[in-house]
């Protein structure tokens, strides 16, 4: 029997379903559990869950696992691209540990993090930014894991200010807000202080659980705000889900039309714009001793069970912040 005969075999509907599953499993990166340890994945669930796109959205530790297992990372049916969902911390880690020729295909990093890409990676990397429909905003949807690794109260204030700048003070005060903020580490007063800020900024807030979010109906005319600093992850499953239901990113940075290379749909309602890098980091490419030391120490800490609950040590986060501030100044 020839290959053509095989492909033209009459199949039952059940066989078609099973083939679909087989097909999607061959395309999916197996074991995509996020950028850190199991316990960190638990803290950040479901924000790090995988979703499918021909752009191969993935967290770098999963990519590294795939390579280490000797698996061919790309499937011929997919675009030769890796859309990295990582935030600043795992991204710097990845670029410090890999050389451009070790990666098959092109890398996409979130446009907000493109300054972290070292010079020697420039040819291999482009940036992506989410694009959503420009609908009128009638209500808000806010989501984020409330813990100090992923959000900060200062940033929340900035976010609230930017919401006010978009909507105006009066409209913002009248907005009804749906809120999904799982708190799995309420070890201090931080979550309470964080939530207090939100509840005092809006009069009508409805807290949702994951069941509500997962099964939510159309979100047309809903503005989405993710409460995520972007240190650990930049592209979350919750954001993907909410935008795929028709929500609009409330604070949306426009891609430059001149430079935009390609727009790829992620769902019926939202897409990513892919464009060349505009800024790059010199700091990371220097690979100074201090950075190397940090990474080695980080790796040791990550193996330590007692520290495993914490995705990345706080000093690493502080270092990233300092580095970014330094870059902003320069």
């Amino acid at each position: 029997m020839s290959m053509d005969d095989m492909l033209n075999l009459r199949r039952t509907e059940t066989e078609n379903w099973l083939l679909t599953e087989f097909y999607c499993n061959t395309l999916l990166a197996k074991g995509d559990k996020g950028p850190a340890s199991e316990s960190a994945t638990g803290v950040l669930w479901p924000f790090l869950n995988p979703y499918y796109s021909p752009l191969n959205p993935i967290y770098t530790p999963v990519y590294q696992t795939l390579c280490a297992q000797g698996l061919r990372p790309l499937n011929e049916k997919q675009l030769p691209v890796w859309m990295l969902r990582d935030g600043a911390v795992p991204l710097t880690w990845f670029f410090s540990r890999h050389q451009p020729d070790s990666v098959e295909g092109q890398i996409l990093v979130h446009a907000d993090l493109q300054h972290l890409v070292p010079e020697n990676w420039a040819e291999k990397v482009a940036s992506y930014r989410h694009r959503t429909p420009a609908n009128d905003i009638e209500s808000l949807f806010m989501a984020g894991p409330v813990n100090e690794r992923t959000t900060s109260i200062d940033e929340l204030e900035e976010k609230l200010n930017s919401i006010e700048a978009v909507l105006g003070k009066k409209k913002m005060a009248a907005m009804s807000v749906r809120l999904y903020c799982p708190m799995r580490d309420p070890s201090d007063s931080y979550p309470a202080r964080y939530m207090q800020k939100i509840y005092s900024a809006f009069k009508r807030v409805t807290a949702l659980d994951w069941f509500d979010v997962e099964n939510i109906g159309s979100l047309k005319n809903v503005g989405f705000v993710e409460l995520n600093s972007g240190w650990l992850f930049k592209d979350s499953y919750v954001q993907h889900h909410v935008l795929s239901r028709g929500a609009t990113l409330l604070v949306q940075k426009e891609s430059s039309r001149k430079k935009r290379v390609q727009s790829v749909p992620l769902s019926r309602y939202h897409s990513v714009d892919i464009e060349p890098l505009t800024t790059r980091s010199a700091a990371v490419s220097e690979k100074d001793r201090r950075l190397e030391k940090f990474f080695i120490q980080n790796a040791r800490l990550r193996d330590d069970e007692d520290a495993a609950w914490e995705p990345w040590p706080k000093w690493h986060e502080r270092w990233c912040r300092a580095m970014l501030k330094q870059k902003k100044r320069s």
């Binding site: 039952t12 509907e13 059940t14 379903w17 679909t20 979703y51 109906g217 992620l266 019926r268």
Partner: protein, 434 residues
Amino acid sequence: MKRVSQRLGIFVSPHPSAWISCNSIGPNLVKSYQMLAKDASFTTEWFSVSRQEEELDQRIGTGYFVELAEQILRSRVTDLIFLDHQINPLPILLALQACAGQQFKNFRFCFHVYGDFTLFPKRWFDIGQVLHGLRAKFICASDRQQGLVSFFERGGKSATSVCPFPVNTQLFRFSEKSRFQVRKKLGFRENQTLLLYTGRLSLQKGIIRLIEEFERLIQLDSQLALALAGPYDHLGGMTSGITAPHSFYFHQLQEKLDSLPNKVRERIFLLGELPHQELAAVYSAADLFVSLSLHHDEDFGMCPAEAFSSGLPGILNDWGGYASFKSDGVPCELVPVSLSKRGLELDSVVLKSLLDAGIKKRHGIEERLRVGEEFAKKFGIAAVAEKMKPQLLAQSYEAIQGFDWSLEMLSRQGVLTGEFYNDVYGRYVESPSH
């Protein structure tokens, strides 16, 4: 002689359902029960059961269900009616059993069974255990769903009965004005035929097969169009253990659409998820409803029902609840489905001939209004209330024996396979013998 009325305690959920159709079914059933309450035979008492409260009680023991049981006892209800699929009746029954003591056996229990019956086998098995020897019944929305549920019943007489889910026939009725407006918006002339599918865009709903058929049909009539209204989902096939990640089906369907020649692609309209008013208008604008769904939860078929309520003719798979429409005299045609060891298969020859004939025959305005009115007499909210009435009367209840080991086996197995699958879902392809 003074008539003793039954006091119905009806349990509803304050939350919207994860299933689109259930967000219509639940409120429509509530309206049917409200109508029943006007009957001298019944009075009603409503209980709202919160999912969050249930979860909290199960986690830390808040006593929510004990409090609910005490409320039930204080309200002096005689019958407990579970009409919302989101409510797990088990903790309510257990709390009531504990609080009521000997009085528990005096209640009558009625459950509206939904398509998710096979997804919660353990729950239903346990309910059968708790109610063994007590008066209870399970109302299914179609003959074949009754066949499936009764397959799991333990010996003796079946405690199942059939009553369709009610349809809001006031909302879903043919409107010439809506037809004109929607067709104008989509750019159709009156002589162009519009095929319509509504519901989730999901693996088991047969959308890709429908598109392939449409690609063939457009060779016969180049002015034909196909509209798909509904949200994408990523459910895969839970009963068969088929999983797909979020957005996979969107890309799979997109890939199919992108592969079509332009002249075909531009005749397919993806309308997205529409609010009920807009959906009703789209039904009016369409000429033929087609659903090739083989979804395992297809116990009734709310989308086809709303289409028929709008006077549309339809072509459906002879699968699950869809078959009941035909036997109830609704003008629809059924595509035979067979179940072999290789799985479910449509009769392609019949499908083609039905579609070929279907696109040539269109209902005029008067015919559509007539079909809609006939449909309302059988499936409207008032009609269903009338159908339910004899099923709810005290004398219609009998002591049940619960469910047998096969349901327990299903709960352990999780995913249905092999002969067991054929035994269970064979009920969805053939009419029950009893």
